[in-house]
Symmetry: none
DNA sequence: CATGAATGAGGCTTCATTCAT
DNA sequence: TATGAATGAAGCCTCATTCAT
């Protein structure tokens, strides 16, 4: 049951190389070379390259999914599931404090970005079927926390937010370089999540514009913000 | 000066196939096959696959860049450059009403998503050097429109927003399918932009949290958190 | 350690085809076709075409180098190292009686000619670094055998001689045809080496002209020359 | 009749590039690029790449052939045709003092080396048929100058000598680098020909060994040398 | 007379995968 | 269980050449 050393070495190498160069751009040769295992080992242990890709994700997401379930259990036990801010905090905490801390969060976020943008339908399908449960659970709590939003509006806003996270974190290296160059400031993922939280919070709470949004409708204020400051 | 028929056919085919399958996953053979031109034509007209990729982007972004410049000129002529909502409206309008409407916006957004997530450093470098001017101009106006934000904070928020746009639009097909299935509602890009606007507006205007906000922090008050620490 | 059958077949085919058509003019397709192995086998076993070229040379020169070392050992044991004629005899014998007599000397000489004339810098560098030792050893003995020559003079004469050998042997087919046609005489390599020896011997021992010897110079006396000066 | 500028430019570029990289390794694209003429110009003016190669040789060898004929005329007029040293001097002078001195001798010697070693049968055939006359004439004079040699022996010795010249000059850059590194001496072609002459002279005059030349037959001296020292 | 466009053939290399050992 | 050898497919690119203009 314990994954052999070979399997682990392959997964470690693949994780880094996939994140760095993309799936198609990373050959099995390179992976096995870095892992210092036989070229045929990937097909032997995983069956195919696609299966390896999925295994890389599962190794990360399985514990994450379990961890997030735990935290949501606790949140519900405290009957705080409908507090939007606590819900977001819980999510952020689970992402940031993943137990498998020998793995790089940035690396995995890059992989997640690739999974969405690259033509890896097989991967998205797998992820959806395997982690649909936890996603649905989170979405349900989010609905309780934002009862003022129509379901479809919430759906889109959640994905806006998801886009912010994945895009920013998956391109972190590039963006960090720019930021460092322009603002002389090296940012960590923790700091980034600190910056992201209020943005996500207010984005989700923004009032809905019921009609078109042609210029002139800029009377929108954001009442709830006042309570925080 | 006028691009030959062959050149146009190649660009058209490449645009669609790249968006659909990614850059590495799309072979020149397939592109030239779809374009019904000779395999060597790509190398003849563009020099390499990388140059073709860049050309696909430039064909779209050059007119866009020009159009946005025009609109920003008008905006400044009206002395409305520092109105955040008008500024966003201008950007949205430029994106949505691109003259070359024979090109699919969704397709291009997918390409943009790929450009950021895939390992195409050459492409990002090219885009940055070629469209840095218009980006800087927009950023300068955005600074006037959001004077309360520190430069670095604005930088990151802009990219949060960018992530929302690119992620949502580049995965539009998938997301639209889900939304249609769950909420029985077929969304258009126009509607999506209507939904996005208030979110972007409030995201940019969200108050800055001055200290760290890791779980347990006190800035944002949520009483029960105390029990965790 | 033992070269697989596939490796040997590739080397055999490459040796002949390279000698016959040159390096650039011989495609891997043709080599693998003649060797009746898979096209990818060359890259699998050798890594690249260049590496294959070098391997062809090494397969021949490694045993040759070892053999010549042996013979020079024996020569020095007999304290005959400084006898020019014995030294040349030793070299000739080593070249002519190479153990791997399943390989064609003529073929290899052609390859050697190509190595020098074609633009294969990588090959020359490799040969120099790999066989510099045996070359230096021979040169050292040659210095003892021709103490009357300045080092640089000896260097050039050695290469004159080398040119004679390589040029003649590498073009042997053509020249032999002409000779056969004109002088009705089919020559073997052994006979050729018999003809070459006195020429090499006297070329090396030729007196040095101390000044320039542009037309009309007087250093080398041959009666009729006097009528010119 | 006067070759157009385009033709000259192509020949100039081809001459240098062929010498530097070989025939197969030099593409028409590169030639026309360097010559700054249209890619199709080569096929337009010369018909094919092979024809261009031949044209490069003819542009050099035609005047050389004419010049050598002249010099041999004068030599015969002086009834000095059978003087070996004067014959060699004449040849050397013709080679060294070619009228078309805007062309590099070294460059051309490299080309000649390539012509012999590379698989350019078409070229060798062309050269033989076009310059066979002057070669025969020289050979006839050489026979008069070395009456003691059997025809076949002379034939081979002439080619030994030719090998020395072509090999040394065609690989001049490489050899010069070595010589410069080892003996701190930068040699010119003129100096090289000074070194070559006595070697050629004595090589041609070396006594014939009538039988085998196994070790032990080293009683051979070279009587004429004695008269020099 | 000269050229830009286009082409079919073929170049070397790399890929993921399979299989006998 | 694990691997070295081998393979068919396909990758991108460059070639010399042709042809309509």
């Amino acid at each position: 049951m314990v994954p052999s050393d070979t399997v682990t070495r392959i997964l470690d190498a693949a994780e880094v190389l996939f994140a760095e160069h993309g799936f198609s751009e990373t050959s099995l040769r390179r992976i096995t070379g870095r892992a210092e295992v036989n070229l045929a080992a990937v097909n032997y242990h995983f069956g195919s390259k696609q299966a390896l890709i999925q295994a890389v994700f599962c190794r990360y997401l399985d514990p994450f999914s379990a961890d997030l379930h735990c935290r949501l259990d606790r949140l519900e036990a405290e009957e705080a599931g409908s507090d939007l801010e606590r819900l977001l905090d819980t999510l952020f905490a689970s992402v940031l404090e993943m137990p498998s801390n020998n793995h790089d969060l940035k690396t995995f976020m890059k992989l997640l970005g690739l999974a969405y943008s690259q033509a890896q339908r097989h991967l998205r399908d797998e992820l959806r079927s395997r982690y649909g449960t936890i996603f649905s659970r989170f979405l349900k709590l989010l609905r309780q926390a934002t009862p003022e939003l129509a379901d479809d509006e919430r759906f889109w806003r959640l994905h806006f937010m998801l886009g912010s996270v994945i895009f920013t974190l998956s391109g972190l290296n590039t963006l960090r370089d720019i930021a460092e160059h322009d603002y002389h400031q090296r940012i960590t993922i923790r700091e980034l999540s600190r910056r992201l939280k209020p943005v996500a919070l207010h984005a989700l709470r923004a009032p809905v514009t019921d009609a078109d949004c042609s210029p002139g409708s800029h009377v929108i204020s954001h009442p709830r913000t006042g309570t925080h400051s």
